[in-house]
């Protein structure tokens, strides 16, 4: 059974469309302008998700899905934003739970409309259930059990107030697999809805990977990060861990927004081999300075001056080798990387040339959320893995051949 990589693209575009409908519905209800900031599909193991959500408190609603798509969808607000949310709603604070349930119901209804339209099938929602949850308990039931679950996540942003929220949907994997595989067949027929939504190039017979290999994406991130940590430890003599929370599949055009306009520092590499592409490791300025200082024998004269630049390049080098060695092992290919190029600028500006370059051939990339901890110092970074999707699909497909 093969899945067209573009079918994943279609799913992504779809959650984007669903999220836009959710935003519109909420804007109308609250009279506040909401924009869809980021939408992504991710593949993650239950263990990784539990780590990523540790310490967060959420409130929201969940609904069960029946009919064309089975599973569960959840709309969650950060518990800190609840007051802001309630103040926007008709009825205000006094409405409490029922207001949140109503918002959730409307937004999730909008979200699922998008999916129902695409799948050409009806999706029924069970009545909304209000919840307050700690950590990963916010995720749909079953998300923590699997070792490679698909999760669709959208973040909406209110420009006038702090009202970010996320929608997570965990489709039942057997049924979801049949749907996207079915859609793949349809996508091969030009002029169908799926072809229009899934492949902008109309190029029949695009890269296809076995469904079973998709969870290999998750292991790519994990394996790479373990290697990266080992390499840092070897270089610095400091015990280091690199935690990867998940691997997200995002539209390339959204990557700059994802990095954001805050200043970032880090390194960029070109990858050669199977797959080729780019890899960028970006830190927010304060994290970059912290990790650079931890690596240097003395405190640098300026936080992100030449010494720090050298340290970050070296760090980037060993992390990148770690990641790509891990990938090459999993994929059974060989991948090499260029020397590091140091970047320090508006985050989205640093990544835009890479996005531009890859956009000529493809519409999606991968983001690995990672945190580096080295003996008491913690620095968050994002690893943007932007492989050539056809080459990656080929490598994954070859993996599963007997």
């Amino acid at each position: 059974m093969r899945v067209d990589v573009r079918a994943l693209g279609a799913c992504n575009r779809l959650s984007e469309r669903g999220a836009k409908q959710a935003a519109d519905a909420l804007s109308e209800l609250t009279g506040t302008d909401l924009a869809v900031e980021v939408t992504g599909a991710s593949v993650a193991s239950g263990e990784d998700l539990a780590e990523a959500f540790a310490g967060r408190e959420s409130i929201g609603v969940s609904v069960g899905l029946r009919g064309g798509l089975e599973g569960e969808a959840v709309l969650a607000f950060d518990a800190d934003n609840v007051d802001a949310l309630l103040s926007l709603l008709p009825g205000g604070q006094s409405m409490g739970h029922s207001a949140v349930s109503e918002v959730g119901n409307i937004a999730l209804g909008g979200f699922l409309d998008g999916w129902a339209n695409y799948l050409g099938t009806a999706i029924d929602m069970t009545p909304p259930r209000y919840f307050e949850a700690d950590g990963a308990a916010v995720l749909p039931d079953g998300a923590l059990a699997g070792d490679g679950v698909f999760l669709f996540e959208s973040r909406l942003d209110a420009t006038t107030t702090d009202l970010d929220f996320s929608i997570y949907m965990l489709p039942d994997s057997g049924q979801f697999r049949d749907l996207i595989v079915g859609k793949t067949a349809a996508a091969a027929a030009p002029g169908t809805e799926a072809a229009a939504a899934g492949g902008s190039d109309g190029d029949v017979g695009g890269p296809a990977v076995p469904y079973e290999s998709l969870s290999t994406f998750a292991s790519l991130a994990k394996r790479g990060s373990a290697n990266a940590a080992d390499n840092i430890a070897m270089m610095t003599g400091l015990e280091t861990t690199v935690d990867v929370s998940r691997l997200r599949f995002v539209p390339l055009a959204d990557v700059p927004a994802e990095v954001g306009v805050e200043p970032h520092a880090g390194t960029v590499f070109e990858l050669q081999g199977k797959p080729s592409g780019y890899l960028a490791i970006l830190f927010e300025e304060s994290s970059a300075a912290t990790i650079a200082e931890a690596m240097l024998p003395m405190e640098p004269d300026e936080p992100l001056g030449d010494m720090a630049e050298n340290a970050l390049c070296e760090l980037g080098n060993v992390m990148t080798s770690g990641f790509i060695d891990g990938w090459a092992n999993v994929l059974g290919t060989s991948i090499a990387h260029s020397p590091p190029e140091f970047v320090h600028d508006i985050g989205s500006a640093t990544i835009s040339p890479l996005v531009a370059k890859l956009s000529q051939r493809q519409d999606y990339g991968f983001v690995i959320d990672a945190a580096i901890r080295t003996e008491g110092v913690e620095a968050r970074c994002d690893v943007y893995a932007l492989p050539d999707e056809r080459e990656l699909a080929d490598a994954l497909a070859q993996l599963s051949e007997p």
Binding site: S348, A349, S359, Q360
Partner: protein
């Protein structure tokens, strides 16, 4: 609640009214927007991308494009998202401005961005700028000011009067 599948019209692939403050329209990467009510159009994190601001002051119409690649010809996918490309984006923006009451003869352009952020990518910034200059010249729209090139990221705001406020990553700000 049941969600059936009526065939609704698909939205245009470039969303042109994302993230709205009162009086402010945010333009994302590979997007364009036109304003007729005096709104400020903003786009952030221009690296190698180029921003093209066009205004017809008499008609009080202005528009902003944030394009990523020089030409549609470079892409395997045709016209799916014209605002992604400098050439197709400029053509689409001019057309949208005309439909909103602008006259092609009165349009003037300001451009920013097109930085050479990385040595790894083959000068996509300068090629974006070059293509913007060619496309605007071909359309007969004069470029009255520009802040392009170098190796610096920029954030821009296009005001209703056509002024393009460019802020560099180091905080330096100028109005074109």
């Amino acid at each position: 609640m049941s969600h059936s599948s009526p065939s609704r019209g698909r939205r245009a692939s470039e969303s042109d009214e994302t993230g709205v403050d009162p009086g402010r329209i945010r333009v994302g990467v590979g997007e364009l927007a036109v304003a007729t009510d005096g709104e400020t159009l903003t786009t952030s994190g221009l690296g190698s991308c180029v921003a093209v601001g066009l205004v017809d002051r008499d008609a009080e119409v202005h528009g902003l494009l944030h394009a990523m690649l020089p030409s549609e010809d470079d892409a395997r996918s045709a016209a799916a998202r014209p605002a992604k490309y400098v050439d197709a984006g400029i053509a689409t923006l001019i057309e949208r401005l005309r439909r909103s009451g602008a006259s092609g003869d009165r349009l003037e352009a300001r451009i920013a961005g097109g930085a050479e952020m990385l040595d790894l990518t083959d000068a996509v910034g300068p090629r974006n700028v070059e293509r913007a200059e060619e496309s605007l010249a071909a359309a007969g729209v004069p470029i009255v000011a520009s802040d392009v090139g170098d190796g610096v990221g920029r954030t821009v705001q296009l005001r209703a009067d056509g002024g393009l406020v460019v802020r560099a990553a180091d905080g330096f700000e100028r109005t074109l």
